[in-house]
Amino acid sequence: MTTARIEKLDRLIEASVSAREAQTGSLLRQSFRRLKRSPMAVTGAVIVGLFVVVAVLGPVIAPYDPTAQTWGKEVFLNRNIFPGPRAENWFGLDHLGRDMFSRMIVGARQTLLVGVVATLIGFVAGAVIGGVAAAAGTFGGRWGERVEAVIMRAVDVALAIPMLLLALSVAALLGPSLSTVMIAVGVAQIPIFARLLRGSMLAQAHSDYVLAAVSLGVPKGRIVVSHILPNSLGPVIVQATLVLATAIIEAAALSYLGLGNPDPGSPEWGTMLADAQRFLSGAPQLAIYPAVGIIVTALGFTLLGEAMRESLDPRLRRQE
């Protein structure tokens, strides 16, 4: 075996290795890099970022109090008089003489709040149900399997009830309010999260490393908590991003049906959109501002979610 050092060879190897490392890196970093390259993800992130900034800073940026009917005497909805955009009110006035621009800005916060809280409700409750089912089914023996079967059939059936009807009856039970919308939309998402997490956990449970851990005698509880669960959360988190978009839209639908957030103290896009349906012919702008707000925001979350899903999905990755 020759041991002669060939400097040039070392240099060439080094160059070649670093070139390759630039292309690979860890799985997570790869996903992230792919995300950064994806126009979908970038667009989504920019929209979501802007939205969050507006939501956080809302009351600071807004030129006026969004609930003050300052120009109340200039609007006559029964005579179709809705002052449109002008110097002092960039987006014009709403049907009660409030500054539409301020309402849009401040409304972002409530809209975000509805989306986030509703998603969290669905996520947490769904994750608990799905997680328990999967854990019981995998490691709980005969009884565990029965528990899993019962839980999952219930989830199946819950999925059969149209989401909106579920939300509708939750809303009817709790009375119309902002928290009703959050709970109603959140509850409707539970079965989806439950199924997703269970599926994801089952896939992990049958993976080689878990089988290996089992055969090495690692306690089952620990396998679930420290191996299966963390590795199963990816798709669920992606789903959460997508659900955020759905939640914002569903909230608007509930408002349209008269069950939305009725508190005039806090404008919210869904309620604004639903309210404005009455003036669609006379003052379409009142519907279009919140509609565009909702659509763009929902699109932002969806783009981000879809891009994340694609970057995490090994099946799609293989195609590249």
Binding site: G72, K73, F76, G175, P176, P264, R278, S281, G282
Partner: protein, 580 residues
């Protein structure tokens, strides 16, 4: 009248129903036709103004060949008039069946009876029927036919007695010959019998009720053919939650005397088709085929009209009326016959303090609500009844919008940092309250301006009535569309006795109402009602906000019927027109 509350989007099914007015043939309002398109609410007279649209250029060919399609906010429920209490059913049945008396504007006028007389005690009512009236099945109308109807109603059994079917009959007559304990009717029937003599029918009751004779204009008490009564004699309704009998859902069983005959009720298309009765005793209908078709969404109704899919619709949203007028559509304005109020539930400190109630009343800019939110033709209310009723007083205490005064009064009462919960319904529109949330928003904002902190409490309609009735809401919005031109139908139902919904105990108010209600002399009674109104506004149990008419709209090429404060439009007057 029962109104189906409608989800906000669907507007209101029964709105229409509106009210039954009564009075002798002389009573209220101005005579003359309703209608006329007013451009704004300003300078509008509450009563029924002259029509200004002139003689129609009737398009005979279109009347014969084209159906007139009217968009209704909801489905009717029953083709047997007695079994319904909602406006949509009334609207259809009104074209097919006639009542003994009729209403023009808010005046009571002859119907099937050309005239009537009562004994001094008001316990015997004799109706002189028109000659030559025949039912659609060919049976002639006579006193016996009328009595057969009253006897049928009085002897209803089982589920027929349930208030969700025969609410109006039991409200007027107290009960039935044999009250079914399962139906919960506990009051005795005041009906003592009906005797017929040729074209005369005499109805006897055990004691006078202020509902008479107005009740005889109620669509529920329409007269149907005796042959039809025989045909359904064996029909039973076992329980309150039993389905309505089949004959009420399909055409062909019941015959009336009206200008139209039922041709078809297509439930899945939500469409009722009527065809002209060529043997009608009065002026025959102009349009041959009349279709009532349900469009529950108010925006959809407007769009259907604009697209030419329908030729008219009821309950136009206030926001649409101007756009329609601008587009050349007709939006004749009805007279007002309802009342919206803001209640101050005493028992919630400090609402029992008169100064606080006064302060709140001064704080509210009611004119803005009327000007900007309510349909054209609306007006600020000064007392708890519409102006078309006898007993309306011009001397009640008024509380004109004055935020400063409100603040002063609140300071005086030591209630500067007042916080009040304010309830409003979320999923309905009512004829007197087309957009509850807008009205709430405006009032809340006015109250905030006077320094009151308002906590919004939105409640769904099915919960709203019991909640406000129980006295849970310090402030709440509610209203009423009159059944009868009797002031008691407004004042009496609210202020006749102490109640949790108002929470006050003021003998002066209760006594003044009782005095007016039992006074037999008409002129004295009117003065007593005025006194009662003044007493109520002195007590200030709540703030009357407005009276406003629900809007109805028609296509440009249509001659609309006279519009009615009671929403009793007679579609036989409708015609297609040539030109615009």
């Amino acid at each position: 009248m029962r109104m189906s509350p409608t989800p906000v989007r669907r507007a209101l099914a029964a709105a229409a129903g509106a009210a039954m007015a009564v009075g002798l043939f002389t009573a209220c309002g101005s005579d003359g036709d309703t209608g006329g398109d007013a451009d704004t609410a300003e300078d509008f007279d509450f009563s029924c103004p002259e029509r200004t649209d002139g003689e129609p250029q009737i398009d005979e060919a279109a009347n014969e060949s084209q159906p007139f399609v009217f968009g209704t906010p909801g489905d009717p429920t029953s083709l047997d008039p007695i079994l319904a209490s909602d406006g949509e059913t009334f609207r259809v049945n009104r074209q097919v069946f006639d009542t003994l008396l009729d209403a023009d504007c808010t005046d009571t006028v002859p119907g099937l009876a050309e005239s009537f007389e009562q004994n001094p005690e008001g316990t015997e009512w004799t109706f002189h029927l028109r000659e030559g009236v025949t039912f659609h099945d060919g049976t002639p109308l006579d006193g016996a036919a009328v009595c057969k109807n009253f006897d049928r109603w009085a002897n209803f059994k089982g589920g027929f007695q349930s208030p969700n079917f025969t609410y109006y009959y039991s409200s007027v007559f107290g009960g039935f010959a044999e009250n079914d304990p399962a139906m919960g009717i506990e009051t005795e029937s005041i009906f003592e019998g009906c005797t017929a003599d040729g074209l005369d029918a005499t109805i006897k009751i055990s004691h006078y009720t202020s509902s008479f004779p107005g009740a005889f204009t109620l669509e529920s008490l329409s007269i149907i053919s005796p042959a039809s009564i025989d045909a359904v004699a064996d029909v039973t309704i076992p329980a309150a939650d039993s389905p309505l009998p089949e004959y009420t859902q399909t055409v062909g069983t019941l015959a009336g005397t009206g200008p139209y005959m039922l041709q078809d009720w297509n439930h899945s298309e939500q469409e009722v088709t009527l065809v002209r009765n060529d043997n009608y005793w009065g002026e025959p209908a102009k349009v041959k085929t009349l279709i009532f078709k349900t469009i529950s969404d108010e925006t959809a109704r407007r769009q259907a009209l604009e697209a030419g899919d329908i030729h008219g619709y009821d309950l136009a949203a206030p926001a649409d009326a101007q756009a329609l007028l601008d587009g050349g559509y007709q939006v004749p304005i009805r007279g007002v016959f309802n009342l919206l109020y803001l209640a101050y539930t005493q028992g919630h400190t400090p609402l029992e303090n008169h100064t606080v109630r006064e302060a709140l009343s001064y704080a509210v800019d009611r004119q803005r609500i009327v000007d900007s939110v309510l349909p054209a033709g609306g007006m600020v209310a000064t007392q708890f009844m519409p102006p078309s009723l006898p007993g309306y007083s011009d001397d009640v205490a008024t509380y004109d919008y004055d935020t400063e005064k409100a603040k002063e009064l609140l300071a005086e009462a030591g209630a500067e940092d007042l916080t009040l919960t304010f309830c409003y319904p979320t999923d309905v529109t009512r004829p007197y309250m087309p957009a509850p949330k807008d009205i709430f928003d405006i009032i809340a904002s006015d109250l905030e301006a006077a320094g009151v902190t308002v906590e919004a409490r939105p409640i769904t309609w099915v919960e709203y009535i019991p909640t406000t009735r129980s006295g849970e809401c310090p402030l709440y919005l509610l209203g009423w569309t009159g059944d009868f031109a009797d002031p008691y139908n407004f004042l009496g139902t609210w202020f006749a006795a102490p109640s949790t919904e108002w929470g006050f105990d003021n003998a002066e108010v209760f006594d003044s109402i009782a005095a007016a209600n039992t006074e037999p002399d008409e002129a004295t009674r009117e003065e007593l009602w005025k006194t009662a109104n003044e007493a109520v506004m002195e007590e200030l149990p709540g703030l009357p906000i407005s009276s406003s008419p629900p809007s109805i709209a028609f296509a440009p090429n249509v001659y609309p019927p006279d519009v009615s404060p009671l929403t009793r439009e007679d579609f036989s007057q409708v015609s297609f027109t040539t030109g615009s």
